[in-house]
């Protein structure tokens, strides 16, 4: 079920009313309703893959319980291993099997040996990377004794499958999110209203900014050979806005929906295009994933401790794995590699730890923000392109300065209209974010009046006909 669909517009109020008016007296029933609603939400797309979520849930629930009951380290390690094998095994099979078969065969081709490829016709279950990482964080934290194992299967099932963030995050942590299923939720009007306004803001980002950008991005990236340098340059920028509007819009809707049910989900995006360097970008972009990798991969590998070589290796590994997490394609690995390359100089001169974002915008700051945006945009080309060759051709074509005219964006009256909507909505987006950064807010906070006008913008500028699916569903 898509957040920007009529089905969800009917589903959400129905679940909300049942949750607060029918099952409000019993925590167990509320958790059960969340599980049922989440399975309906997910099953709306493809009910066959519910079995995978149920399997991961049961495995990690049992593993968690057993792990807490056992004190012997070797047995605990074995249990953790079972959870890792089960979860990563499913993820690996559904997401990477064909990729590795192809890569293996292509590697042998380099030596002139042709191998038969036995790839399978595998459908990638929506959101598998997200819920797998969420459930893994639980077993790892139980193993590390950072969180106690839950005795209540329904609580745990609700934690794994909570529908607002099930298919595209934020990837929640057991120690912060699971306890919320243990306590009775009290309805907080102000909190819920902020959630409602955040849903509107998320829909604006998705339906107005991202989907209108997609109109141009799809045409430009599908046939880069038909476009001049300037169009390709703007195509890359528009993809930056598309993916940001798409993904952060999803997170905002998820967080807002969570609030309607009394849940506090973690912030996933904190105005990333106002970052002054790439390290800061990663503290503001897909925060739930970058902190996951920090806590469960980077730090266990040694983090910033050890020899210089080890430190560099750790950064490289984290970014490459993060790239691969997004999809089984070398383009994603290269995208991750590029970010590692951008971040390493900062790491070497130890400037990667400047945490806090300045609210002042001096000329120097604006230059840094623009430069960072250009680097990130360059990397987006690799993220979006179908394969590495196409990505390099795209970048080369930008830099061969084959033409500076922007006629593509004014070709017909309809295209001019799209261009104006994209321009206007992007300015609105940046303006609200700029104000939020200046106020040091974690998210854009809309007043009711502003939400009303944003709502009208969604209705009259949003894409309702053949909307784009959320980009991160494929991950």
């Amino acid at each position: 079920m898509l957040f920007n669909s009529l089905a969800f517009a009917l589903f959400l109020p129905l679940v909300f009313l049942l949750y607060w008016f029918v099952f409000n007296n019993s925590l167990k029933w509320q958790n059960l309703l969340i599980v049922v609603a989440s399975y309906v939400f997910y099953g709306w797309w493809d009910y066959r893959f519910l079995i995978l979520i149920a399997f991961s849930t049961v495995v990690d629930y049992v593993v968690g319980k057993q792990m807490e009951a056992i004190t012997k380290t070797t047995k605990r390690k074995l249990l953790l291993g079972i959870s890792l094998v089960c979860n990563l095994g499913l993820l690996g099979f559904f997401k990477y099997y064909n990729f590795f078969v192809d890569t293996w065969a292509e590697a042998w081709l380099l030596f002139g040996i042709s191998m038969e490829r036995s790839t399978l016709n595998i459908i990638l279950p929506v959101g598998i990377s997200f819920y797998t990482f969420q459930t893994l964080s639980y077993t790892i934290d139980v193993y590390r004794k950072k969180v106690g194992a839950t005795k209540d299967l329904m609580q745990f099932a609700a934690y794994v499958s909570f529908f607002p963030q099930l298919v595209a995050g934020p990837i929640e942590r057991a120690n912060q999110f699971l306890p919320q299923f243990r306590v009775k939720r009290k309805f907080d009007t102000v909190f819920a209203l902020r959630g409602f306004n955040l849903i509107i803001w998320g829909l604006f980002k998705k339906m107005v900014v991202a989907d209108n950008c997609a109109f141009f991005v799809n045409q430009i990236f599908d046939h880069p050979e038909n476009h001049n340098s300037m169009t390709l340059f703007f195509g890359a920028i528009l993809f930056g806005f598309q993916i940001y509007g798409d993904f952060s819009g999803y997170s905002d809707i998820a967080i807002g929906t969570g609030r309607l049910f009394g849940f506090r989900l973690m912030t996933n995006f904190k105005f990333p295009y106002f970052s002054r360097d790439v390290a800061e970008f990663w503290r503001r972009w897909h925060i739930s994933l970058s902190t996951w990798f920090r806590d469960y991969l980077y730090i266990p590998m040694g983090g910033s401790r050890g020899t210089f070589k080890q430190k560099i290796r750790n950064v490289l590994v984290v970014f490459l794995v993060s790239g691969f997490w997004h999809g089984a394609n070398w383009t994603f690995a290269l995208w991750g590699g590029l970010h590692a390359l951008f971040i390493l100089p900062l790491f070497i001169v130890k400037k990667n730890r400047k945490h806090i974002i300045s609210t002042r915008f001096s000329v120097n700051q604006i230059f840094k923000i623009s430069f960072t945006f250009c680097l990130v945009t360059l990397a987006w080309v690799f993220f979006r392109a179908d394969n590495i060759e196409l990505a390099f051709e795209y970048v080369m074509q930008i830099f061969n300065f084959s033409g500076m005219a922007l006629t593509f964006f004014v070709k017909t009256p309809k295209i001019i209209l799209f261009s104006l909507i994209v321009l206007f909505s992007s300015i609105v987006l940046l303006m609200f974010e700029f104000l939020a950064v200046q106020k040091n807010e974690k998210e854009v906070v809309l007043s009711s009046k502003t939400a009303f006008f944003i709502g009208l913008m969604i209705l009259f500028m949003g894409i309702f006909k053949n909307p784009e699916t959320f980009i991160y569903f494929q991950f």
Partner: protein, 300 residues
């Protein structure tokens, strides 16, 4: 909770109220404009009686130039073709034309070969252009015949005008703003409803060789159009426009046909395989005027 529900309730009522007002306004301005063909028929055609009208898709729109035909034949016609539409829409257009109290002696249908051939026609892409008239019975009953989601959205607009305006916001809302300021503005057609493709992508003269393309006139809307014409004393003429390198032959001959599929033997006259360009448009329109005159005189 009560405060929350009250707030959300008011918010949604105001939002939808405002959206309804804007949508109704949008459809009002479109109804009183000449931007799309249905409104053009209702507002821009001052004449009551025509000798002929051209109905069709982009093929009809760009092949037959009624100004050229009228000059060459002393007849008076108008082109009511709309791009990306099927014979079902042409039926609806004729009903709409007649509903304005207008009449014609001949109805020339210039549809694509694929459309003439199909047994199962679907909803056309540009049917939303009839949305400002959705509350008229003949329009809503036409959309009622389809099962597609888009038809439902257009039908809902009968009661909730915002449904169609949101869904087709680019195609309806923004043109309506233009129409409010310039009600005579037309969407890519002239005062007689014609549009020509430019002389673009020309590769010089190139002699064409022809292959035969057999077709069956079996689209169910064709018979419906024929019936509608008979009820209103109109003669239906099926027109086959030039096709690059194709000679259309008929497997059935239930209708009066002017077949121009193979009259242009030079690639110079084509914009693409099924559309002629400005030069082709003139040639074909002149030939059509001759053939129409013969047909009116009852000559073969």
């Amino acid at each position: 909770m009560r405060a929350f529900l009250k707030h959300i309730g008011w918010f949604l009522i105001l939002l939808m109220g405002c959206a309804t007002l804007l949508s109704e306004g949008s459809l009002f301005f479109l109804r009183h404009s000449s931007f799309y063909k249905p409104s053009f028929v209702a507002n821009a055609l001052k004449q009551k009686a025509y000798d002929y009208i051209v109905l069709g898709s982009s093929i009809g729109l760009t092949t037959l130039n009624t100004k050229v035909i009228d000059n060459a034949s002393d007849l008076e016609g108008v082109n009511l073709s709309m791009d990306d539409t099927g014979i079902g829409t042409q039926c609806l257009m004729l009903e709409h034309f007649l509903a304005q109290g207008k009449s014609t002696k001949y109805c020339v249908l210039s549809a694509s070969v694929a459309d003439l051939n199909t047994k199962h026609p679907g909803l056309s892409v540009n049917n939303y252009r009839f949305l400002p008239y959705i509350r008229r019975n003949y329009v809503s009953s036409y959309f009622n015949e389809f099962k597609e989601g888009d038809a439902n959205i257009i039908l809902w607009s009968k009661y909730f005008s915002f449904a169609g305006v949101f869904y087709y916001n680019l195609e309806l809302f923004y043109p309506s703003i233009l129409s409010a300021f310039r009600p005579n503005m037309k969407n890519r057609f002239d005062g007689a409803g014609n549009y020509q493709y430019p002389l673009e992508n020309l590769k010089g003269h190139e002699k064409l060789t022809f292959t035969t393309l057999p077709i069956n006139l079996q689209n169910p809307y064709l018979e419906r159009l024929n019936m509608l014409c008979k009820e209103n004393n109109i003669t239906l003429v099926v027109y086959i426009p030039p096709m690059k390198g194709k000679n259309v032959v008929f497997l059935n001959d239930n209708y009066k046909v002017i077949n121009h599929s193979a009259i242009l033997d030079d690639a110079y006259f084509f914009y693409d395989p099924i559309h002629v360009n400005l030069a082709g448009n003139k040639q074909v329109s002149l030939k059509f005027a001759e053939d129409l005159k013969l047909l009116i005189k009852g000559l073969p």
